[in-house]
Symmetry: C2
Subunit: 345 residues, 2 copies
């Protein structure tokens, strides 16, 4: 039997050395030209370009980064790759980072603290120059070291404890207030709340907004109309079903997240209740298909793309000026009235 060797020719990637030989200059010159530092005659510049093309040369980022101790890699960690709220944010981040010549390295923490820690580690050993992340945990300790390090970091959507970090968040309380107030103005008096877990800051804030809206309107709170579970569809389904099955049921329900609202809608339908005639629904967070739902869902919309964009800009600014003071950006929500709350069109 013939000995088995690697089939294809070893055709390694061309190095800067080969380009330089090809162009009859030194590697230093090639490096300079490639870095766009000018200071080279038209002629050499030309020859180098040609050589690069002919050889199909591509800069080896490992070597380059190692030597220059710089990187244009920005780490992005989100809790769920499948949640359009998060991917929408990533879209916004990409938009501005790409424009600025940075590359994003996306990691998925799967809402798991250990997993998140591992990804964070990985990103750092990848020598990213900055980090954008949506924390999976509310415990500040988990991120204390991040703040201590010199890596520029901005937290998105939620800021655990009182961490000294740049951040971009959403005015959840004001948003919920706005949504519930709209319901009240539309004439509803008996308004329920189906919320996410109280441990999650954004859910708590939305709950507060709900309560404040009711109280401001002189309506009193009914514990039996206030439920909280997880941010899953199933939880929304069960909580809503239970709430609407009571003898004295609310005429409107404010639901704390989009996914939960899906479940709520299912519950309402299953109970044979008409939306919005028998029960109005208002969700939090908008999705491309909210308008395609049946009925089209009214929501308090978060400026998803803008959240990402702002966070990226914050990071870019800090990259330029590391000594900047800490900045917290709070973005406002938009009320999107469709048909599920009885006041649409």
């Amino acid at each position: 039997m013939s000995s088995h060797k690697r089939a294809s020719s070893p055709k390694r990637k061309p190095t800067i050395r080969e380009v330089s030989r090809h162009a009859g200059v030194s590697t230093a010159t090639v490096s300079r030209v490639l870095a766009g530092l000018g200071g080279a005659s038209e002629a050499t510049q030309q020859r180098i370009e040609t050589a690069v093309k002919e050889l199909g040369y591509q800069r080896n980022r490992m070597a380059s980064g190692l030597r220059s101790q710089r990187s244009t890699l920005v780490g992005v960690v989100i809790p769920d790759l499948q949640n359009p709220f998060f991917t929408g944010i990533v879209g916004g981040i990409e938009e501005v980072l790409h424009e600025a010549g940075y590359t994003i390295f996306l990691a998925n923490s799967a809402s798991d603290v250990d997993r998140e820690r591992a990804e964070l580690q990985m990103l750092q050993s990848e020598r990213i120059c900055g980090l954008l992340f949506i924390p999976s945990s509310a415990s500040a300790e988990a991120y204390q070291d991040l703040c201590d390090g010199e890596l520029p970091v901005v937290a998105i959507d939620r800021v655990p404890g009182g961490l000294a970090l740049d951040s971009v968040t959403v005015a959840n309380e004001a948003g919920a207030f706005q949504g519930v107030t709209h319901l009240i103005e539309a004439g509803y008096r008996k308004i329920g709340l189906v919320n996410g877990p109280d441990e999650i800051v954004v859910a708590r804030e939305r709950g507060t907004g709900y309560r404040r809206a009711l109280q401001d309107a002189g309506l009193k709170l009914r514990p039996s109309w206030m439920a909280s579970g997880s941010f899953q569809s199933e939880s929304g389904y069960e909580l809503t079903k239970a709430m609407l099955s009571k003898k004295n049921r609310p005429e409107a329900v404010f639901v704390g997240s989009f996914v939960t609202a899906l479940g709520a809608l299912r519950a309402v339908t299953e109970l044979g209740l008409k939306v919005p005639d028998e029960v109005a629904l208002m969700g939090f967070d908008d999705m491309p298909w909210a308008a395609a739902m049946n009925p089209p869902l009214s929501v308090v919309a978060q400026p998803v793309r803008e959240i990402g964009r702002s966070a990226a800009k914050l990071l870019l600014e800090r990259l330029e000026a590391p000594d900047l003071g800490i900045r917290s950006l709070v973005l406002n929500t938009d009320l999107v009235v469709r048909e599920s709350c009885g006041t649409g069109v």
Copy 2:
């Protein structure tokens, strides 16, 4: 005014050199231990571990990769970060790659050929060890160089032209056939098709499946009941609305993608038609919220996660055995009957 210096101490990341000094051994030993190559006494092993912890050492991947000429970075390119079909695939990929100790580098081509080319370039200069991608273009030329290179690549969901590439695709034609046949067996005779663009292979295949199902059942095709547009929700809305507004309208509509089905559902609702009583609906591709829709949508489900998993496995196998022959995996769809096609529950 005092001169302004960088505020924090320069606190650079510790290098392997420092760890080695700290532990009183050579860098080689540290490197070996860290690589888990054994061959070190318990004692040193212990001391090294301690040193690593104390210093908070993290291996510099650039240096490591540069030296060893290896990488465990796998590039993944998808056309749309916001499309749950694609992110679902990424989820599957992650699952197996993570398990195998690889890191994924996700890039977004935004369905733009130029952008895709740029991302592909970037990934290669990042020295990835393999590539998984969902092509944005159907033109084989755009990817010819990818096949020629020695980089292991697997194409997902669609394979441009007759490219010599490992691939994982879905049995679109069979899936559509299955879905439409179900409609026929449920008693529908007048079945319309609202499809994606004919230029896209998957749409074409689904159209073929639709036609074959009708013909096999002895039903004849009506051009006025067959529409194709884009894979956007808006397109589904318009096409469906137009089709159902005709005097002689179909009693069931097979819709070529999930997003399009959303639009179709909206059109049907706007027309005041009851689903499934007046018109049945069957979509292609399943989503977490399909069941939460109103009515719950019946669909031909693609094994999203499995697609990702298989692709990743294919890549892993090729990484081990680069000389393997080219393999094309075709995955089957599942019929998920819910209420929109009148035969559910």
